[in-house]
């Protein structure tokens, strides 16, 4: 054991100007402040990935933090700072899969909606409802399709970066993306026009 973070205090801006490689080296020497600065830079996409893959489960923060804890425990695992984001994404996605195997995560598709007691068949969906509907359809996609879509469409990874994270070929990533988008279109086909018209009517 090399060391432990000695304080729970969030450090000052000592590392703000340092690049990721410097921060990784400092974290490897046991500097928790460097790790927290890395988290400031990369936490949100890792959190969103966990959120998307778990279907908005409350464990998302725990999973994102787990990725950073793994980095903290052994920073030497990331030899190239340019690969850090992808590495964190892979650890987080593996953590989601592991948890889902241990105990199925209740996703947003299973959370009962609050009934408002009114029938509104001809009212357009508002933006929040539409977002919730789309989130639920994405959450229902097969795991690999959902991961590919999240990495490339929502987190703007290149196809090469996504292939590295998923440990598959670029062709496989493209195939997963195409199937994910096709599945979404098909699952939304009944509500497709309503959703689009609703969003358009709101000027979204």
């Amino acid at each position: 054991m090399a060391g432990q973070a000695g304080s729970t205090e969030v450090p000052a801006a000592d590392f703000r100007s340092a690049d990721d490689a410097v921060l990784l080296s400092a974290a490897a020497r046991g500097d928790a402040g460097a790790l927290v600065e890395l988290a400031r830079r990369h936490y949100q996409p890792v959190y969103r990935l966990a959120w998307r893959l778990t279907g908005g489960h409350a464990d998302s923060e725990d999973i994102a933090q787990e990725a950073f804890l793994k980095l903290w425990q052994n920073p030497q695992q990331v030899r190239d700072a340019g690969a850090l984001k992808g590495w964190l994404m892979r650890v987080a996605s593996n953590a989601v899969i592991d948890r889902a195997r241990r105990r199925p995560l209740a996703d947003i598709g299973e959370v009962p909606e609050v009934a408002d007691g009114r029938e509104r068949p001809d009212e357009t969906l508002d933006r929040t409802e539409a977002a919730g509907e789309i989130d639920r359809r994405i959450a229902a996609l097969p795991e690999r399709q959902k991961l590919a879509l999240t990495l490339v469409h929502f987190e703007d990874l290149t196809n090469i970066e996504a292939a590295v994270v998923m440990e598959v070929s670029i062709e496989a990533v493209e195939s997963l993306l195409a199937r994910a988008r096709r599945s979404l279109r098909q699952s939304l086909s009944a509500d497709w026009q309503d959703l689009l018209e609703g969003l358009n009517a709101r000027g979204a």
Partner: protein, 153 residues
């Protein structure tokens, strides 16, 4: 536009959507000028993009740095050195069995040497010189005057 290019354009639209900014760089350079011929594939890709655009983009709850820091404080780092581990029992057994033939050979050699059994197997030059050495009086005891006898006489 040739058939290969058209097929690739459809694949790109199906996988990455209608916005060339989201396409792989090589495809963007080659195909973004061809969108006009994409027809239905382009319309479908654009509609899917439009829906995906309204999916939630949640942010982590504020204060995550402090919560992470608290967990870091409870989590030990590991060194890069591999942990010291006792040698596996299987490896110990392997070494034990390897030593046995050597020990048996040594014991047999001592036994046969003591019995003189192996002399016949050795070259004469070796056995004769050993015998000659045996015959030499290396101590010089035999040349010493037997004072005890002189005193007696």
């Amino acid at each position: 536009m040739d058939a290969v290019k058209r097929k690739r354009l459809e694949e790109v639209l199906t996988s990455y959507g209608a916005d060339p900014a989201r396409w792989p760089a090589a495809d963007r350079a080659e195909l973004s000028g061809e969108l006009g011929v994409a027809g239905e594939a382009l319309a479908e890709a654009a509609a899917t993009d439009r829906l995906l655009q309204f999916a939630s983009r949640p942010d982590a709850a504020s204060g995550f740095e402090a919560r992470l820091m608290a967990r870091l404080a409870r989590t030990a780092q590991v060194t890069t050195l591999p942990p010291l581990r006792p040698r596996p029992a299987a490896a110990r057994m392997k070494i034990g069995w390897a030593v046995l033939p050597l020990a048996a050979s040594l014991a047999l050699g001592i036994y046969l040497g003591a019995r003189g059994v192996i002399d016949s197997l050795l070259p004469a030059a070796v056995t004769n010189s050993v015998a000659a050495v045996d015959d030499d009086d290396l101590t010089g005891v035999t040349n010493v005057t037997d004072y005890s006898e002189e005193h007696v006489s």
